[in-house]
């Protein structure tokens, strides 16, 4: 995965593509989302650089990690040929759900994995809106059949990290780069929002982001590791279900490895509450 970074993409300069993709100037609607920061500022749980730093670190370790993993999975799926996609799908599910030769179904399945990791309806909505906007822009910036397919497969908007992973693949990036872009996105949006809302010194806030750089790398690596069968399953998590399986024969995956179901699902209950509080607030500047 990481090792054939140059090979995996459809275009030649993945590192430059990554910069374009992660840049806040990418015209895909991201500037209007604060990722819960606006509501946290309103409630007084973010007042300055110290609590902003804790907010960003926690957001990265939860929502950021989940986004990174979904983006990496989407990039991997987008980079695989359609035949390969169908084959991988067959192997993983035993072809049980009748979607095995349907790449669109595969995208919907990954989208459902994102749904299951996003309990808050306000967050699902914000994620889908951003996903829809990104797909629309990406289809013009990095046109590719996979983006066309994805737009058709989930017409109301696929979850943002999945759109990001697919766009990244179309731009020539690999899963690690996709994960990194997703992790970066998860903290830069709220950081910028806090600068605007609290009038913080932008240099101080960029210093916080610089301090997070190692954690961003770690999140992207963890996200990619979670794509590889069994590596993600730390001891103990893997084997409870190995010997017993589940009563309905769901245990099929236990011998082959977990696949998408085992991707990180780190929850942030406070972000859920913030997202819903923000949604019901009538005096707000940001969409989310």
């Amino acid at each position: 995965m990481q090792n054939d970074r140059r090979k995996g993409g459809m275009r030649g300069s993945p590192d430059a593509a990554l910069l374009l993709l992660a840049d806040s100037r990418l015209p895909a609607g991201g500037h209007a989302h604060s990722g819960g920061a606006e509501e946290a500022v309103r409630l007084g749980t973010i007042t300055g650089p110290e609590d902003l730093a804790r907010f960003l670190r926690g957001r990265l370790a939860t929502a950021g990690l989940v986004s990174a993993a979904l983006a990496a999975a989407a990039c991997e799926l987008a980079s695989a040929g359609h035949d390969e996609q169908a084959a991988a799908h067959d192997e993983q599910t035993g072809g049980r759900d009748g979607q095995s030769d349907d790449p669109a179904g595969r995208w919907r399945q990954l989208d459902a994995e994102a749904d299951a990791r996003t309990a808050s309806p306000a967050q699902r909505e914000a994620s889908r809106v951003q996903g829809r906007l990104l797909i629309r822009s990406a289809r013009r910036i990095w046109p590719s059949p996979v983006l066309d397919l994805l737009a058709k497969a989930v017409p109301n908007g696929v979850h943002h990290p999945i759109a990001l992973g697919a766009a990244a693949a179309s731009a020539g990036c690999d899963p690690y780069q996709s994960a990194l872009a997703a992790a970066y996105n998860a903290v830069t949006g709220p950081a910028t929002a806090a600068v605007r809302l609290l009038g913080l010194d932008p240099v101080t806030v960029h210093r916080l982001l610089a301090d997070l750089a190692p954690a961003l790398n770690d999140a992207a690596h963890a996200a990619c590791a979670s794509l590889i069968d069994d590596v993600v399953m730390e001891p103990g998590a893997a084997d409870p279900f190995g010997p017993y399986g589940t009563a309905n024969g769901d245990a099929k995956g236990s011998t082959r490895g977990p696949g998408w179901p085992a991707l990180p699902g780190h929850a942030a209950p406070a972000l859920d509450l913030l997202a819903e509080g923000h949604h019901s607030n009538t005096m707000k500047l940001f969409v989310s």
């Binding site: 926690g58 049980r96 749904d115 406070a270 859920d272």
Partner: protein
């Protein structure tokens, strides 16, 4: 597989020189329109006792889980039956004789037309513990569930140990809710994005065919929120009640309000 109800003498913590591996099973069977307990198998320190019709209590026999323990609870609710599982007291997770994580795994299946209510007392993460929980809950298409999980970050005035609690719920194999709560790790501690200044977290999954409203992903069903709690309609047929609080009393009150809001099925 079927073992008669065991009533082991509770070992004291002092007797717990070594980590234990234990597996308990609760399984129901439909019998003439009633729910019978087909299997009730205990293995210390995991003890399960029938305390009423379709009602089972988890009885903690001895301290723990302690570091190195590997405890598994299997729950199988047969089609058309109803089961309720509670616990007598809260679970205190402690560091143990082994530096390894303590593990608590629950593997639950709820069959067609069956219902499960799982409402144990909170899990308290004592200082120094390193705990992992994993719940795998698989629901048949028209099964109903009420599943509560409460985690307390340390005993009174104590910093919590570490914990990762993974929860995976599927309906007919489709993912409904996958979440992992991480407690006591430096990235999340004191983060206004994760738990804020709360000392405990609770979440209850309420799910079943009644919550399967026609779903339009462009217009999500709206959440109900209050101070420190929310009832979050999921993309699939269920609602997650979620609460953060300073102590267990406040947690139960908040989660209770969220559960009430969650229990109202959506209009069709």
């Amino acid at each position: 597989m079927t073992t008669p109800l065991l009533s082991p003498a509770p070992p004291s913590p002092a007797e717990r020189a070594a980590a234990v591996t234990a597996r308990a099973v609760i399984a129901t069977r439909a019998s003439g329109g009633h729910t019978r307990l087909e299997t009730l198998r205990s293995e210390p320190p995991l003890t399960v006792r029938q305390t009423g019709p379709g009602l089972v209590h988890l009885v903690s026999t001895g301290a723990g889980p302690l570091g190195g323990d590997r405890l598994t609870l299997v729950i199988d609710v047969a089609p058309g039956t109803a089961l309720e599982v509670r616990s007598v007291a809260s679970t205190l997770v402690l560091p143990g004789p082994s530096p390894a994580d303590s593990l608590m795994m629950i593997d639950a299946h709820v069959g067609a037309g069956a219902s499960l209510r799982f409402t144990p007392e909170p899990t308290v993460l004592a200082a120094g513990c390193s705990h992992r929980m994993a719940v795998r809950l698989s629901l048949a298409e028209d099964a109903t569930v009420f599943w509560r999980e409460e985690i307390v970050f340390g005993r009174h005035g104590e910093r919590p140990g570490r914990c990762r609690a993974r929860f995976d719920a599927t309906v007919a194999g489709r993912p409904l809710l996958r979440q992992e709560l991480v407690v006591g790790h430096p990235e999340v501690e004191g983060s206004p994005a994760v738990y804020g200044d709360a000392r405990c977290v609770g979440s209850t999954l309420v799910a079943g065919p009644a919550w399967d409203a026609a779903h339009d992903s462009k217009r999500e069903r709206r959440a109900t929120i209050g101070a420190g709690w929310a009832a979050l309609p999921l993309a699939g047929p269920g609602v997650l009640a979620s609460a953060l609080a300073q102590d267990t009393v406040e947690l139960r009150a908040r989660l209770g309000r969220a559960e009430q809001a969650a229990a109202v099925p959506p209009e069709r």
